[in-house]
Symmetry: C2
Subunit: 297 residues, 2 copies
């Protein structure tokens, strides 16, 4: 392998040579180096009641839920997962570059389950403003973006309202045109779709295994029972309900700690010798949120 389009983890900070544009940033640590030198307390083990394991034949996806920003939606999703509602259903609407949508395509289970439509949770009041960790970055869709529960979020400081963003891997219930109509069908975004923010109640994000979502067979419902209903959900389980030996050791970098701030800076202006132009900017949806799958953080 001769070339990589991004620098790999470097043994030592490198000096920048031959910079055609931008300013020379010497001796700074790359994002990978910053994470490598982080402390265990920079990382958080998610609450097992907030982790959903979604099994395909092709592999496992792990979703983290945010009770803080969409409590009713999370409660519903948890209930459905615990009932095994989704087991054997499919991702029946998978549109490239848009979303992968799953659930009860013909409404058979739902009619038996008496799942009343949910009131929208487009925004949720943050009792404590410090639960929002701001990202210093102008944003076209919201006045202030950052993180809540270490997930991409926006915050209206005057109204104290926060909401999760439709970056890639956002998880939400589908709804009809009227806002209080979500019941059981859910989707995962395959690309950022920020125009959906505050129009649908995002309640979580994919922490792990997003490649299995991206690779789902593209299908479009066309009506009729003979159509391809897409790939099957073998099972969905709450981590709290599975044996410790089956749990993945996932750790999430905490937004707001010094390590996180250094990581963000290294994403704004990458110090690696590979880069000639440094934008001094990072879009919230282009900032990969560090997750580790390791026995200790």
């Amino acid at each position: 392998m001769k070339k990589r389009i991004v620098a790999v983890v470097l043994a030592l900070p490198t000096l920048l040579t031959g910079a055609a544009f931008g300013e020379a940033l010497t001796g700074k640590l790359s994002a990978d180096e910053i994470l490598a030198s982080s402390e265990p307390e920079d990382w958080r083990r998610p609450d097992p009641n907030n982790l959903v394991y979604l099994d395909f034949k092709s592999g496992q996806v792990v979703i983290e839920l945010s009770s803080r920003l969409a409590p009713q939606h999370v409660d519903r999703f948890r209930t459905l997962v615990r009932r095994g509602f989704y087991d054997g259903l499919t991702f029946y609407r998978v549109i490239d570059g848009f979303v992968a949508q799953a659930g009860d395509a013909f409404g058979r289970r739902e009619s038996q389950d008496d799942m009343a439509p949910l009131a929208a949770e487009f925004e949720t009041t943050l009792g404590d403003a410090s639960d929002f960790a701001p990202l210093e970055a102008q944003d076209g869709y919201a006045d202030h973006v950052g993180f809540v529960d270490d997930m991409p979020a926006a915050f209206d400081g005057e109204r104290k309202e926060a909401w999760l963003l439709h970056c890639t891997g956002a998880v939400a219930f589908a709804r009809a045109n009227e806002k209080d109509t979500a019941t059981t069908e859910f989707y995962i975004t395959l690309q950022p779709h920020r125009y959906l923010d505050k129009n649908i109640s995002v309640f979580g994000r994919v922490l792990y295994g997003m490649e299995h979502v991206q690779a789902l067979r593209r299908v479009q419902p066309v009506g009729g029972e003979e159509q391809d209903l897409g790939e099957e959900i073998v099972s969905m389980r709450l981590e709290a309900d599975i044996p410790a030996s089956d749990r993945r050791p996932l750790f999430v970098l905490k937004a707001g700690v010094d390590t996180f701030d250094a990581y963000v800076e290294a994403r704004r202006n990458r110090p690696e010798a590979f880069f000639y132009f440094r934008p001094d900017y990072v879009d919230i949806c282009q900032l990969p949120l560090p997750v580790r799958a390791t026995s200790s953080p």
Copy 2:
């Protein structure tokens, strides 16, 4: 199918009811309706010398090249495609959420082909500023974004320099740390990665079949010849070199025409009744550029 998370094409413009946020936009056409009522002259048939057909076993991808913004890179790519250089090679580095990279992983063909490293074309002078169709949207990575050759681009009006953007589906050659080192390996972005702008010479974008790129098997080169080298490129051909009967009837909406402006406005503020909050903004990488595969535009 009970719910969709976006409104489908509507027979008639709808009245907005129950808007909790945003302003009521009544009687406006949706993006789909605007495209449905476009005129043939709003669309462009790409030059067959600028279209590359990339065949996987799973399906076909079509890439459009921009000679205007990266003439030397396009010339190299065209030459390699015409030689059949990539036929039988693989996408050997496919990293979820990042890029799918293809080419001569072990440098065997390249050593026979005498492909000298290319001088970077990070930016290219636009002789005619009207070749840049601006998008009115603040952007964190560049002062002015818009379109050149109907591809997402940025433009520095003072220096008259333009460059293509790393939105999803951007096509570029990989390089080593030094800027003038691209030879034959290329990649396609799976998500927006704007920090790569002006650091690598983007020379085209995927027009069609992006779902086949998104579904490529994720592989990482680890060294050694026994590793999984990923999915094979069955063949790559220039459209100009294939029979008319095998050509796809692809048409691209022209940036800058009235239909395009109306389309952009309908993306900034979606008039469909589904939407309660309208951001009055669209990010350049979240604006899907209309392409039609149809016998006439």
